[in-house]
């Protein structure tokens, strides 16, 4: 059914001009990897989806289909966030089941304090996307995350 959907709508929706099966395989593989990363480390699936979608939109632009919906970087980010939500829900469910034995949190309910600011922040971030330069924000964020990643490894190694 999915293949039928791609055959009938895929060319228009994804901008794939030829070899739809190959393109479909790439999207499926990217989704699988995104889910695997998200399920393994609890984050990171979104960035895989953004990379995969950006690649597709580049192909589409190359094929002269730039006017097709979803080609703007903001649309790509929105599609990535929409896609990662069900993946995160599945990750959260199975991650909680599979790693329950390793948990040291006696009452996870106390972390409900994060829910409200998370929802407010999410809305503000989405609203600000039209007014800010995402390229600059992404660079600042990336630099911050490099520092954070190094800090985590150093802490685990006992250096920090």
């Amino acid at each position: 059914m999915l293949m039928k959907e791609v055959r009938t709508h895929g060319v228009r929706s994804l901008g794939v001009t030829s070899d739809s099966k190959k393109q479909l395989f790439f999207l499926c593989a990217a989704g699988l990897v995104a889910g695997l990363i998200n399920g393994l480390i609890g984050t990171g699936g979104g960035i895989i989806i953004v990379y995969a979608l950006t690649y597709f939109m580049r192909i589409r632009r190359g094929a002269g289909l730039a006017t097709e919906p979803g080609g703007d970087i903001r649309d790509i980010l929105a599609t990535a966030i929409t896609s990662i939500l069900p993946i995160t829900a599945v990750s959260a469910l199975f991650y909680s089941i599979n790693t329950a034995a390793a948990s040291t949190v006696s009452s996870p309910i106390k972390y409900a304090v994060y829910i409200v600011p998370a929802a407010c922040g999410g809305i503000c971030g989405a609203a600000l996307l039209d007014t800010i330069n995402t390229s600059v924000t992404k660079k600042i964020f990336s630099a911050l995350v490099v520092w954070a990643g190094v800090s985590m490894i150093l802490k685990e190694a006992g250096v920090m």
Partner: protein, 127 residues
């Protein structure tokens, strides 16, 4: 009290980054593990729930303002869910320390790619 204020501030800003789509979940795990000394398994689990709240709320704006590619969404959601189940099974068999190394290495790799490559491609279509 002071810790709760910092929790709220950290959650808000990490969620804002998530809502923008530039990532923020990773940074929130770092906050939980480094600043709050939460274990890696628990930090990742809390982050998943945090991200559902942040991205779920941001979708209100995205659905109104953006053009979502629903076919891509469908493919990613189905295949990603299968991958997520596999990923969580692997996570249960890896130690918390090893998971932290994997997490740190992933963050560094993706960020370096974003810093030096990704933004150039995306930049042509941004403000």
């Amino acid at each position: 009290m002071k810790i709760i204020v910092w929790d709220i501030v950290a959650a808000f800003f990490a969620a804002a980054l998530s809502g923008m789509g530039v990532g923020g979940g990773g940074l929130f795990v770092v906050y939980l593990t480094l600043a709050r000394d939460v274990g890696q398994y628990d930090a990742q689990r809390i982050n998943l729930i945090f991200f559902i709240a942040a991205s779920g709320a941001s979708l209100i704006i995205h659905f109104l303002r953006r053009k979502i590619n629903f076919l891509a969404f469908l493919i990613f959601a189905v295949m990603g869910s299968v991958g997520a189940i596999a990923g969580s099974l692997i996570a249960a068999r890896v130690s918390g320390g090893a998971l932290r190394y994997i997490f740190g290495a992933f963050l560094i790799t993706c960020s370096i790619i974003s810093l030096f490559k990704g933004s150039k491609k995306a930049g042509a279509h941004e403000k």
